[in-house]
């Protein structure tokens, strides 16, 4: 008896035969990790290639923001709170981890609400939370700011580097590219809804499928994309119906709108993208670390931090894969990364390293 997996592989192989070289981009770090973990590339025919896009929030955070975070974390009065993935991202010779080793008060949190607790426990210190992530994570930071406002917290602020995915996809693919179809990020879609990716089909004229993170969900979405390419259809299909609705999570979207407003933002590898960032609204400005520490951050210079030969920027544009890099696995490893794609567990380089290049 044929197994379901074999049937799926056979379907994909059959569809791929009718197509030439097909490159599909995934725009989510968790997809990148799942694809490596379940060896999904190895289940696909040779003419179907998967490349990663700018879907790892740590990786797309530009050097300027890493430099600012390090500058804040170095201050005597500051307790700096961030997700663990941020710790090893290098800026020149320094990283948050290197400051931590030198005794600076840096706390790894697993939820933004941990920052509220830390601020309560240390009324004499300034707690700064590093807000990074896409639409999946930004509502959580919004909830932190709302809660801090409700309890009149004076010693907590957010260094906000949140970004939104659709403008980055538009910027990357609008001029035409070798990408034939898009695997859309399931947990971003949980918040913003499947319809937020309709522009991929309508404006970029590419098939799009919102995918979950189990191996069978990714395979099902790939099958759906190949079928659309085979039939010449250009639609956006929600292949993650257990978690994603057309309209998304309205409560989370309302909270995002209450706390943040769109702003232009710089992405590593992609440059400045109009309306792709989230800035704290005037009403909550006292929780904005960029305002609170304006004089401190004014002098932070950008640039001068990227390691020579590092190809993270090309990887984030889908133009290279990690094994193209001369440093991969040698000078650059998760314990001592030269670039953010190796530093973050969601980065392409870390995924290749962990599960084999």
């Amino acid at each position: 008896m044929k197994t379901e997996l074999e049937a799926m592989k056979k379907n994909i192989a059959g569809l791929a035969e009718s197509l030439g070289q097909v490159t599909i981009m995934e725009v989510c770090g968790t997809h990148t990790a799942s694809i490596r973990k379940y060896a999904i590339r190895e289940l696909l025919p040779g003419n179907v290639k998967l490349v990663s896009g700018p879907g790892c929030p740590v990786c797309v955070t530009p050097e300027q923001d890493i430099a600012a975070a390090i500058t804040l974390a170095e201050r005597e009065e500051v307790v700096f709170a961030c997700f663990g993935d941020m710790m090893r991202v290098p800026w020149g010779e320094r990283s948050l981890y290197s400051l931590y080793e030198r005794g600076k008060d840096i706390r790894i949190v697993t939820s933004p609400l941990d920052a509220l607790r830390i601020a309560r426990e240390h009324p004499g210190r300034e707690v700064v939370y590093f807000g990074i992530g896409f639409e999946t994570t930004a509502p959580l930071t919004a909830a932190l700011i709302e809660a801090a406002d409700e309890c009149g917290m004076e010693n907590l602020s957010v260094f906000c580097a949140h970004k939104t995915i659709p403008p980055a996809i538009m910027q990357l693919l609008k001029g035409g590219s070798s990408i034939a179809a898009l695997l859309c990020p399931g947990h971003v879609a949980t918040i913003i809804g499947a319809q937020a990716f309709a522009f991929v089909a309508d404006e970029l004229k590419l098939p799009a499928a919102v995918a979950g993170f189990e191996a069978y969900e990714i395979m099902a979405a790939l099958l759906c994309l190949l079928q659309m390419l085979h039939r010449g259809e250009r639609k956006c299909v929600n292949m993650y119906p257990r978690a994603v609705t057309e309209q998304g999570n309205r409560v989370a979207l309302a909270l995002l709108d209450q706390v943040f407003e769109p702003c232009d933002a710089i992405w590593r590898g992609l440059g400045e993208i109009e309306g792709s960032g989230l800035r704290i609204k005037e009403r909550y400005r006292k929780f904005d670390a960029a305002c609170k520490f304006k004089t401190v951050l004014g002098g932070v210079v950008d640039g001068a931090g990227e390691a020579p030969g590092c190809i993270c920027a090309r990887i984030l544009r889908g133009q290279s894969i990690p094994t193209d890099c001369p440093h991969f696995g040698g000078a650059c490893q998760p314990e001592r990364p030269l670039g953010p794609c190796m530093a973050s567990s969601e980065g392409s380089c870390a995924a290749y390293y962990r599960y084999g290049g």
Binding site: T3, E4, L5, M8, N11, C28, G29, T30, A33, R36, K37, Y38, A39, I40, P57, F83, G84, T110, S111, L113, G133, F134, T136, T137, P139, L140, A143, E146, H187, T190, I191, E214, A215, Y216, E217, M219, A220, L223, C224, Q227, V237, M239, Y240, P241, R242, A243, V244, N249, V251, A252, L255, P334, S344, S345, E346, A350, Y353, R354, Y355, G356
Partner: protein, 93 residues
């Protein structure tokens, strides 16, 4: 069909993880075992943790929830397994 696919993947392709690091944007499903003061007690197969209910409405004990960094970000639609099977079948058609 989906149960069978899950089994096959876990058996054949569950590659070993060299570092054991968890992904930042990972959202994990669990069952709501209790609700109090805007927080849910989430049961991850016997391991219990709290998660804020600030981002969802109408959560009830027994619902399956998608949890990301201390917050329930969506209630899972338990009927949707059949919907995905239908979508896969259509793709094959």
């Amino acid at each position: 069909m989906i149960a069978s696919l899950k089994y096959e993947f876990n058996r054949a392709n569950g590659a070993s993880d060299k570092t054991g690091v968890t992904e930042m944007c990972l959202a994990i499903p669990g069952r709501i075992a209790g609700i109090r003061d805007g927080y849910a007690e989430i049961d991850y197969g016997g391991v219990f943790k709290q998660a804020s209910l600030r981002l969802v409405k109408n959560a009830r004990v027994g619902d399956y929830a998608l949890v990301h960094a201390g917050f329930v970000i969506q209630l899972l639609d338990q009927e949707a397994g059949a919907e995905l099977e239908k979508l896969i079948a259509e793709t094959r058609g």
